[in-house]
Amino acid sequence: MPGIRIDKNYCKGCELCVHACPMQIISMSKEINLKGYFYAQVHEPTKCIGCRICAITCPDVAIRVQNHGTQFSLFAY
């Protein structure tokens, strides 16, 4: 099952991933992290297709993506 992990302490709450996710499954938390930012979180993790778009767009490299080598991916990276 594909999935992402957002390290909330790297996140600066820029929301770029929220806009980028094709599955629209990322949203902003109501809580703040150590630096005082509302951080991103995945609200429907099961829908994740592991496309890595969120990770590619995250300026703070806060997102890690797991997937299966055999699975569909939007593009080689």
């Binding site: 929301e15 890595r52 590619i56």
Partner: protein
């Protein structure tokens, strides 16, 4: 999870764990990662020396796991020249903003490119002086408001934005010169390809290489990060066409 998952995207080894000082949504961070991934994938980290500019990315050395030099404003290409001439076996790159490279550092970049110095320049064009608080850059768009052009850049007084990739491509000395952007994930992927190629050409000791990357500055543009990517697409892309302008491998320009 019942079955083993592979990590298909994670922090590149060339990037340190340090949280950057960049503003939320600033695409400097993306570009850092693309450089780091390229170093990783080409196996260059251990013989890489970066040259930091003066600009928002002055602290870039805190974010990389490779050696770094910190240059005076605009002079990174001169430092890179000095170092690379003595250590042609090392991989040298400069990372420079538009104020740094296109304004005060114009002479240094043109001449390094023209001498064909075998280093790589990552040129981050965000159409503004980020670090000093949003003054007009040579790359600022016509009509764009900045702290030193509060009524918008007046092309009658300040001229039009300088297109560095085009300018450098007039030089006869072989080089790789491309312009890319990171305002969408797809563009970031293409930017990565250009950056990686630039480093590969250096690894092969081929030529000078420069990748211009269009980047956002939400803070000084005064808009939210996602609006900034849209602003870039609408305002900068038409004036700064993406593509490869010069390629020692004679690929066609795709601008």
């Amino acid at each position: 999870m019942a079955y083993q998952a592979n990590t298909v995207f994670t922090r590149p080894a060339s990037l340190s764990e340090t949280i950057t000082h960049y503003c939320p949504g600033c695409t400097h961070g993306i570009i850092h990662r693309l450089v780091a991934e390229s170093l990783d994938e080409l196996g260059l980290r251990e013989r890489a020396v970066g040259v930091a500019p003066v600009g928002c990315s002055v602290l870039i050395y805190n974010y990389f796991n490779c050696d770094f030099l910190e240059a005076p404003h605009g002079r990174a290409p001169a430092l890179a020249t000095g170092f690379k001439r003595i250590r042609p076996d090392m991989i040298v790159f400069t990372y420079q903003g538009d104020g740094d490279l296109a304004s005060i550092g114009m002479g240094e970049i043109v001449h390094a490119a023209n001498r064909g110095e075998k280093f790589t320049t990552i040129f981050v064009n965000n159409a503004i002086y980020g670090m000093t608080g949003g003054q007009m850059a040579p790359t600022t768009m016509p009509g764009q408001r900045t702290t030193t052009s509060p009524a918008g850049r007046d092309v009658d007084l300040a001229g039009y934005p300088i297109r560095m990739a085009e300018l450098l491509s007039t030089l006869r000395t072989p080089a790789y010169v491309a312009r890319t952007s990171v305002h969408t994930p797809m563009h970031a992927v293409q930017a990565k390809q250009a950056i990686k190629k630039a480093f590969r050409l250096q690894k092969e000791n081929r030529c000078f290489s420069l990748v211009e990357v269009l980047s956002t500055c939400p803070t000084n543009w005064g808009i939210a990060p996602s609006d900034a990517t849209r602003w870039l697409a609408e305002n900068m892309l038409p004036y700064y066409p993406l593509g490869v302008f010069k390629d020692p491998e004679r690929e066609e320009a795709t601008s």
